[in-house]
């Protein structure tokens, strides 16, 4: 059990490190512009005559609202994940409890 926990911990730390290192290394000097943004501007650079012919039907009215919606998406997905993991865990516990074995004599 201890080895399992420490291995999981190492994984979590590694993930955090991969994400945190760029922040630390670059500090505030990088704009961390979204790569999708760069995709759009590159399209215009490569294909200067291209006209965007369709626009989103709904756009968040500000970047705060947009962040909020993103957070909602991440949060909503997180709730579902949490529910599923909890449910699976409870089911597992129920499965492995001795009393649930049919025909068990006390």
């Amino acid at each position: 059990m201890k080895r399992r926990v420490s291995t999981n911990l190492v994984l979590v730390l590694a993930i955090i490190a991969l994400v945190a290192v760029p922040l630390v290394v670059y500090g505030s000097s990088a704009s961390f512009k979204g790569s999708d943004d760069q995709g759009s501007s590159t399209v215009h650079a490569v294909d200067p005559h291209y006209k965007v012919w369709f626009h989103p039907l709904f756009e968040p009215s500000s970047s705060e609202v947009e962040s909020g919606l993103f957070a909602l998406q991440a949060g909503g997905g997180g709730v579902i994940l949490g529910f599923v993991l909890g449910r699976l865990s409870a089911r597992r516990r129920k499965d492995t409890t001795p009393t649930s074995t049919p025909g068990a004599t006390p």
């Binding site: 922040l23 990088a30 999708d36 943004d37 597992r92």
Partner: protein, 274 residues
């Protein structure tokens, strides 16, 4: 001029950035996969209603990861895809549907991706990504790599393949005025593919972590899906490496797990299915 100077696409190609012909072509290309995904998921749920939970988890995993922008070593930020998990659990067709739902949500509510580009984005994230990931999974299993490595490769490569495909789609639609398709491709690859490497690795590690957790709390479900190899080593377990077979899924052994009661109580649980 709208929210930002450019519409921040969360998933690849922003609304209107593919000419109508390309947009239509990719939509037509993606559609049969999504239809197949619907069929495969219904079949799976009929086969084992308990897999609804893991299906929800696969969708939710992609849902969450697509919403999180993370910084990368190249100084920009991007977001992972999360499609590798569902691809390994339920095989790629299921992800075609789940992924397209996530994309649709983001296109409608977040102005990320787009309706016109839904087909193309589905093709890259919900079809190519999962298939490449699943291919890596199967290949590494044949090569007898440890399960963790199989998962890692599945997650990392499905993430990366998604973005490579996007670069390809963009280059196809917007060849460089001088260098043509090739020059364009190099340029788009330069933005997406390199930025994505550390994130894909992080996603790979996250997938490994997820499977460790799932192996602990959902061993029966995993075995039912033919993924007994995901479980912590059991001396008595036979072939945990059953290949997920055809539509009926790789239902394998209900051999006694760490505790014999697990298999016995399965039938008793039938009524409990939600």
């Amino acid at each position: 001029m709208g929210v930002e100077t450019q519409k921040e696409i969360s998933v690849h190609i922003a609304e209107g950035y593919l000419p109508p012909l390309h947009a239509a072509a990719w939509t037509i290309a993606a559609a049969p996969f999504v239809v197949h995904g619907v069929r495969q998921i219904s079949r799976e749920v009929r086969r084992d209603p308990r897999s609804k939970l893991l299906l929800a988890a696969s969708g939710a995993f992609t849902f969450v990861l697509s919403a999180i922008k993370l910084p990368s070593v190249t100084g920009s930020c991007s977001h992972p895809t999360g499609t590798g998990l569902g691809a390994v659990l339920f095989r790629p067709p299921a992800m075609a549907l789940l992924g397209s739902i996530v994309l649709l949500f983001q296109a409608l509510l977040l102005a990320h991706g787009g309706i016109t580009t839904l087909g193309a984005n589905t093709f890259s994230m919900a079809i190519v990504g999962p298939w490449v990931g699943y291919g890596a999974f199967v290949l590494s299993r044949r090569l007898r790599a440890p399960f963790a490595v199989q998962v890692f490769l599945a997650m990392t490569l499905s993430d990366w393949a998604t973005y490579v495909t996007t670069s390809f789609q963009l280059a196809l639609a917007h060849p460089d005025v001088n260098g043509g398709f090739a020059a364009s491709l190099v340029r788009f690859l330069g933005i997406f593919a390199v930025t994505q490497v550390p994130l894909a690795i992080a996603e790979g590690l996250l997938g490994v972590l997820m499977f460790r957790v799932l192996g602990k709390i959902a061993p029966d479900e995993l075995r039912s899906l033919g993924l007994g190899a995901a479980l912590p080593a059991e001396p008595t377990a036979p072939t945990g490496l059953a290949v997920p077979g055809g539509p009926a899924g790789g239902t394998v052994d209900l051999a006694g797990g760490p505790d014999g009661s697990a298999a016995v109580t399965r039938t008793a649980e039938a009524g409990e299915v939600e």
